[in-house]
Symmetry: C2
Subunit: 221 residues, 2 copies
DNA sequence: CTATTATTCAAGTTATCGCTTGAATGATGT
DNA sequence: ACATCATTCAAGCGATAACTTGAATAATAG
């Protein structure tokens, strides 16, 4: 029954790929890219049952994509290191490369219109420094509370629709959310542009911003 | 029954990961990293039946990891572009990062001994130019025939054992094979060192060498 | 020590994947 | 048109994964 060493190696590589082959686990990874969290918080955010969430997390841990530590009664999970983030990013790049279906989905989100090029993180940092841009954080309030780009306004999609009239059409707006997997910023930009505002999306989300060593306004941990 | 656009996107990313989650498909990708091939050649190399191989290839194509073209009666597959190679490489890096099991497997191949650091491709190119190294291509003869590093000797593992006495212990030997997924070079280095020769492994294989723009001795296509 | 809360384990059901077999399609040569 | 060869499709079977439910384990509070 001993399989060759070659197959055993490939089996290990396949294990990592399989760990990323379920949408539920990609959601968990996206959440963990925001920062470390306990099982219940993750289950809550991803609409999984506690038990199911725990099982997915253990699968991610088996693939060494995440690690865990105990904190009192709670077990806190987090991404093992930046390589996990890099793998998530490359997976997304490859998936979006040629898949016409994904393209159509993204187009659908942008109201079938021309989606402008995203703003690079470097550019945004420079423009924040000169105050020539309004930054919009389109994540849930609790995630904003943990950390956000300095000076960013926090509001949900529905709130955005309400405050549109108060925004200055002359100032460019840059929206961001959790990261490349997250579609909130896409939707926000689509909504703002529909109202004639000059809005663009940030390339990447807060995890990538932090990874680049750019400043983060930290809240309660 | 319409699932949200968010889930649909994640489903697409998961599709790419799932395509890489079977050892058989990783073997196919490794083969295709050597160069484009027809279905029968791939089935032959990977010990799959034709039909099964065809199905795996279609799954890789659905994930846009490979593309195909017709050439007469044959359908020729190849990697879509360098990003597929990058994803394979990062998957390997992450898998080997923390998995003690993989480490043990690799140690097992190196006779439990100290495996020396691999030689970088840049270094090898320089040392070939000055002629201070013997290069060993440990792949099957037909793959060597299609293309190899200039000046490299081609021999199988069993042949290596035979010619060991004829090799000069003073000259360093660098072995390479298909790439990071391939263990031929690991085994060759272990065998040579066991005989007291100064052998090391090349970092990466021929696909990575070619990707770096380094010279390749091309044979029949 | 007992109760409580957070997480994990275990068993069972349903859906999906991987492999095999045999037939169908597509392109080429006679 | 016919035969031939490479590849793909379609159906069936066994193995594996995902999700649910209910019980077990770990750490803390009273």
């Amino acid at each position: 029954m001993s399989i060759g060493p070659k197959l055993a190696l490939l089996e290990e590589y396949a294990l990592v790929a399989r760990a990323m082959s379920a949408p539920a686990r990609l959601m968990l990874l996206e959440q963990l890219a925001q920062g470390e969290r306990g099982v219940e918080a993750l289950a809550d955010k991803t609409d999984l049952t506690i038990a199911n969430c725990s099982q997915h997390l253990q699968q991610l841990r088996r693939a060494a994509l995440v690690t865990s530590r105990r904190d009192g009664k709670a077990v806190i999970y987090r991404l093992t290191d930046a390589k996990t983030l890099a793998l998530m990013d490359l997976l997304r790049v490859v998936a979006e490369r040629n898949l016409a279906q994904v393209e159509r989905l993204l187009r659908g989100l942008s109201s079938g219109e021309d989606a402008p090029e995203p703003v690079s993180r470097e550019d945004l940092a420079a423009r924040i420094a000169e105050g020539s841009v309004t930054v919009l954080d389109v994540r849930p309030a609790d995630e904003y509370a943990v950390g956000h780009i300095p000076g960013a306004l926090n509001m949900t999609l529905t709130e955005i629709e309400r405050i549109v009239p108060t925004l200055d059409p002359a100032t460019e707006i840059v929206a961001y959310c959790r990261g490349p997997y997250c579609i909130y910023a896409h939707q926000a930009v689509a909504a703002l542009r529909k109202h004639g505002l000059n809005a663009r999306r940030l390339d990447g989300g807060l995890p990538e911003w932090r990874e680049d060593g750019l400043p983060v306004m930290a809240g309660a941990q």
